[in-house]
């Protein structure tokens, strides 16, 4: 006997969020997740948190490099330029 897919519970829904946001979730899974999200404010909040996290990751500038790291590499550049 073939069973219909059971509705998602929150614990399983959160495992689908990353692929969902990347658009790589298979259609059937996507529909299950969207159906769950439509009824679940907490998982919608989780989705929003994940979306904000990914967006912020793309906006973080480079770390402030210690000046000795920058100076060391710039010295390499000067040495290379003088030798060539």
């Amino acid at each position: 006997m073939k069973l219909l897919p059971s509705p998602l519970v929150c614990r399983d829904a959160v495992e689908l969020v990353s692929d969902y946001l990347d658009g790589t979730l298979p259609r059937r899974q996507r529909r299950r997740l969207e159906k769950h999200l439509a009824e679940c404010d907490a998982c919608t909040a989780y989705l929003d948190q994940m979306r904000a996290t990914i967006a912020a990751s793309g906006q973080v500038g480079p770390d402030d490099l210690p000046s000795d790291v920058v100076d060391g590499l710039v010295n390499l550049f000067r040495k290379y330029r003088n030798e060539n």
């Binding site: 519970v9 929150c10 614990r11 909040a45 912020a56 990751s57 590499l73 390499l76 550049f77």
Partner: protein
């Protein structure tokens, strides 16, 4: 995050009496300001501009170290790999044909060198330690799998108590806390904006593996940021 796509033609530049073939890019995708900057930096570097080199170092050194760290045994070794990468860049910049973006070229040099160093160190490539663990701690759910301790939208915390820079700082700190291979994958995919396919090719992983590692890494970053936001509440 857009994929940077560019077509290249060539144009000659003169530097210290030598003819150099430098790549020029015609942007084919919108939102590629960073890429344009890279092209400008490349042209300035070809002219021997030290400040262009410094800017590239500031922009990419942290990513190079994070990616190298995936292959080698320590941060110190990863920094050595990054330094070797910059030397290779200086030696090879005049031959760079612009078939890939400068960023991709840099990363490929870095990965090749890191892989060689890792082999010399007899380092085995780490597997994802959280591969089989849940994205969210089990104690946040009840027995039926429903939230018992539901998440609060970041936007509430951001709007009322924190500005966007606090969120960015929290995310940056969280990514710095990640272990391998999540740190390398999240950095390449979400910070540097490479596609899943590009990350998979660069790190010689399957796309399915990249997606799993990315999923775990993002979940970990979200969890750390969530804690930071809670901690910031008055």
């Amino acid at each position: 995050m857009s994929n940077h796509q560019a077509t290249s033609t060539t144009a000659g530049l003169w530097s210290r009496g030598r003819r150099i073939v430098a790549p020029r890019f015609e942007l084919t995708a919108p939102g590629t300001v960073l890429h344009v900057d890279d092209v400008e930096l490349l042209e300035r570097l070809l002219g021997g501009d030290e400040s262009a080199f410094t800017e590239l170092v500031r922009r990419y050194q942290p990513t190079l170290v994070k990616v190298a760290r995936y292959y080698v045994a320590s941060v110190a070794s990863a920094e050595d790999v990054a330094q070797d990468t910059w030397i290779a860049v200086l030696k090879g910049i005049e031959k760079f044909e612009g078939r890939s973006s400068l960023k991709t070229w840099l990363l490929r040099i870095c990965v090749n060198r890191a892989r060689t160093s890792g082999v010399k160190e007899h380092r085995s490539i780490p597997v994802d330690p959280n591969e089989s663990g849940p994205s969210v701690s089990a104690h946040r759910f009840d027995r039926g799998g429903l939230w018992s301790d539901p998440p609060v939208p970041f936007t509430d915390a951001v709007d009322t108590r924190l500005d966007n820079s606090a969120l960015l700082n929290a995310v940056r700190a969280a990514i710095d806390e990640l272990g391998d291979p999540q740190q390398a994958v999240v950095t390449l995919r979400d910070v540097e904006g490479l596609s899943t396919q590009e990350v998979a090719t660069l790190l010689e992983l399957s796309e399915a593996n990249v997606r799993v590692i990315l999923h775990r890494g993002r979940a970990r970053v979200r969890a750390i940021v969530e804690e930071a936001m809670k901690g910031s509440k008055i």
